[in-house]
């Protein structure tokens, strides 16, 4: 923890404990952690994500009590036992299944905030790397968790994704066989995929602890990107940010509850309401929305190994961001050019996501043959995803080269200057207008 401890044991028993296990000191200092006073609502997703992780672990453990990890029993234990007979089983499963989507929604917003405000830059590279590790672990957990209901999409999704690993030279087929526990996706695979998503959330929790530790060494970044200079720039985490994060979590819960109670199947695929059948391939195998951009990149490259490399590269480049982006200006608030490229990068990811949900051969404008160039029909989802993927990757190159010609706006001297300048217009002691916050 940065800064001197503010804790002073008051009673004999506190002094006794403090010299043996300073856990109260840890808690007190943790809650009083000096936090920049200009954090906006985009900084509340850390709290929201902590809530999501706890919610997934708690509901997951309860679901595991009622779940049968066997090819014959898995689908029935979910769709008949949990959804119909277990008291509030529909609610626990609804929270868990929709919670995965909510978790990814929050993590994407959290990551985009980190990129927009340059939070990954020195001295927060390790913080960023740990966050990326959490994200990869989340994808692995979500993918394996999705296999558990053992519906058609569970089964065929598992088959497609595990087959990808087979494209890795030399060790690929061995890894696939180990994952399958045999030579096809079957009962042993399901048992592995039940054991691992029970383990991984606790690994995630451990990496989250490291992530928070790595946050508490340099402290939070902030929307201006200017380093905290004095105690006057900060507020104790509690009560100022506990209450703000609490409010944000509560708003997030309204969205969450809307899906759980009124649109429980909004993210679900109809094929997953049919029990897994190795003899019947669904017409259209699609992963969950949060994996769609990567799925589109995979399909855009007309070579299996190339596709896997593209998919891995799309994630690896995010890890490398602190070393790609060398701009001295941290926040994109003062980098109008970088900001424009960044918003187009988000757009490219959304377009890729849309492409991933479509049939690769489908036409963008049905029936239009105008775009037939040489031997290729540019009017196809595959080609749209290729163009979007090119921009997705080009963004990292742009970000790396941009400081050579970029004109940045003046950065304030301290993170508090812009706040004071507009704060001066407000009479002292008056309630600040909420729309001017941040």
């Amino acid at each position: 923890m940065s800064g001197p401890s503010i804790y002073e044991p008051k009673t004999a028993i506190e002094r006794w404990l403090d010299s043996r296990l300073p856990i109260i000191r840890f808690g007190v200092d943790f809650m009083a952690f000096p936090t920049p006073r200009n954090l906006n609502y985009w900084w509340t997703f850390g709290g929201i994500l902590s809530f999501c992780l706890v919610a997934q672990i708690v509901t997951g453990i309860v679901l595991a009590m009622h779940y049968d990890p066997s090819g014959a029993g898995a689908f029935v234990s979910v769709e008949q036992h949990i959804m119909r007979d277990v008291n509030y089983g529909w609610l626990i499963r609804g929270i868990h299944a929709n919670g995965a989507s909510m978790f990814f929604l929050a993590v994407y917003l959290h990551m985009l905030r980190g990129i927009y405000y340059g939070s990954y830059k020195a001295p927060r590279e390790v913080l960023w790397l740990l966050g990326c590790v959490i994200y990869v672990l989340m994808m692995a957990t979500a993918f394996m968790g999705y296999v558990l209901p053992w519906g058609q999409m569970s089964f065929w999704g598992a088959k497609v994704i595990t087959n990808l690993l087979g494209a890795i030279p030399v060790v690929g087929p061995t890894i696939t066989t180990l994952l399958w526990g045999g030579f096809a996706v079957d009962d042993p695979t399901l048992n592995r995929f039940f054991s691992l998503p029970y383990l991984l959330p606790f690994v995630i929790a451990a990496v989250v602890a490291l992530h928070v530790w790595a946050l508490h060494v340099p402290g939070n970044s902030n929307p201006t990107g200017v380093a905290v200079k004095s105690k006057a720039d900060t507020l104790p985490f509690h009560p100022y940010y506990t209450v703000k994060d609490g409010f944000a979590v509560s708003l997030f819960l309204i969205l969450f509850a809307m899906f759980v109670f009124f649109l429980p199947d909004a993210f679900a695929k109809v094929d997953n309401e049919v029990m897994a059948n190795p003899l019947v391939t669904p017409a259209h195998i699609v992963p969950e929305w949060y994996l769609l951009p990567f799925y589109a990149i995979l399909r855009a490259i007309p070579d299996k190994l190339g596709g896997v490399i593209g998919l891995g590269g799309a994630i690896a480049l995010v890890f490398a961001l602190p070393w790609i982006d060398r701009s001295k200006v941290r926040s994109m608030r003062y980098r109008p050019m970088a900001r424009t490229y960044f918003f187009f990068w988000i757009l490219s990811a959304v377009v890729l996501g849309w492409c991933g949900s479509q049939e690769p051969d489908a036409q963008l404008f049905p029936g239009v043959t105008f775009f037939n160039l040489i031997d290729y029909d540019i009017n196809s989802v595959t080609w749209v995803s290729r163009f979007a993927a090119i921009y997705y990757f080009a963004f990292f190159a742009i970000l790396g080269l941009l400081p050579m010609w970029e004109k940045t706006r003046p950065v304030p001297d301290s993170l508090f200057t812009p706040v004071l300048s507009h704060g001066a217009a407000v009479p002292a002691g008056a309630v600040a207008a909420p729309e001017k916050k941040g």
Binding site: R37, N40, Q80, L109, L235, F247, F261, F262, V350
Partner: protein, 281 residues
């Protein structure tokens, strides 16, 4: 703040874009249901009529493995009665169950027997095994109906469209193989059976099921005229209940949860403003 929340919501919607399937079939008919929207509940009279259609028509070929007789008397179910909070004691449920013969084993001799059903039993399968089901239906196993309304794009409207799909109006030039029936609402590829313009292949697919319903096929106990549309509408609603029997409970709990969350958020906002009142930021 409002702008930022809007932006966040727009981002959320963009990321949560639904997967769209390619359209090889005609979109399901536009049907109105009592259970639409956040407050929509099942119409119990409709569920009872729908159950009768299932019992007298569908159940001779289609299983409904995940539904027990007692479920019919659960809250939100077709035969729920506040007089019988325990559905196992509901006389209607007991009578329906007793009407079925359930395979069992004689407790003394171990011989295979059949006994009248109890409310704890599940709807029995019309065929002893899937192979028998296929053999009796030209090679196509009639799908289990427990989750059918959730397992098809379009849900109950899809079921309604399939069973009311007009088999008689086959487009000229379409030669449907014997034992199969053309249905524009089924996904498929009709080009192998199409003799006309290859650029205008009719949308739709083939289904092994002959048109199951028709006027007067099921006589409703409440005097509702039994047209094809009425039967299809009621049985589709019943199958939606079978696939989502906890919907009424879900929406009721959901309403309370939403009211709580909105009030709680309001209180937190007031607390937040109070804590930050004298802080320049």
């Amino acid at each position: 703040m409002a702008f930022r929340l809007t932006l966040a919501a727009a981002l959320a919607c963009g990321l949560a874009m639904p997967a769209l399937a390619a359209t090889t079939q005609v979109a399901p008919k536009d049907v109105h249901w009592s259970f639409e929207g956040p407050f929509g509940m099942y119409d119990q009279a409709q569920l009872q009529r729908g159950y009768k259609v299932y019992r007298e028509v569908c159940s001779s070929c289609h299983s409904m493995n995940m539904v027990a007789f007692r479920n019919l008397g659960d809250q939100g179910g077709p035969f729920w009665s506040p007089k019988y909070p325990n559905p196992n004691e509901n006389p209607v449920v007991k009578a329906i169950a007793a009407d079925y013969q359930i395979p069992d084993i004689d407790g003394d001799t171990g011989e295979a027997i059949k006994r009248p059903g109890t409310s704890a039993d599940y709807f029995p399968n019309p065929y002893p095994n899937p192979t028998a089901g296929k053999a009796a239906n030209g090679g196509a196993l009639p799908p289990d109906m427990s989750l059918l309304a959730k397992a098809r794009e379009g849900g109950p409207a899809y079921i309604y469209s399939i069973v009311t799909g007009d088999d008689a109006n086959i487009p000229a030039g379409l030669v449907v193989p014997p034992g199969k029936h053309y249905d524009p609402y089924i996904a498929g590829d009709m080009s192998p059976y199409w003799k006309g313009d290859p650029n205008h292949v009719p949308r739709g697919g083939v289904i092994a099921m002959p048109p199951p319903l028709g006027p007067g096929k099921v006589q409703f106990d409440d005097g509702t005229p039994s047209s094809l549309q009425q039967e299809a509408w009621d049985v589709s609603a019943f199958l939606e209940w079978a696939a989502d029997p906890k919907m009424e409970e879900r929406k009721q709990v959901g309403l309370a949860a939403m009211i709580f969350l909105v009030l709680f958020s309001g209180l937190l906002w007031v607390t937040y403003r109070g804590v930050w009142r004298d802080v320049e930021h």
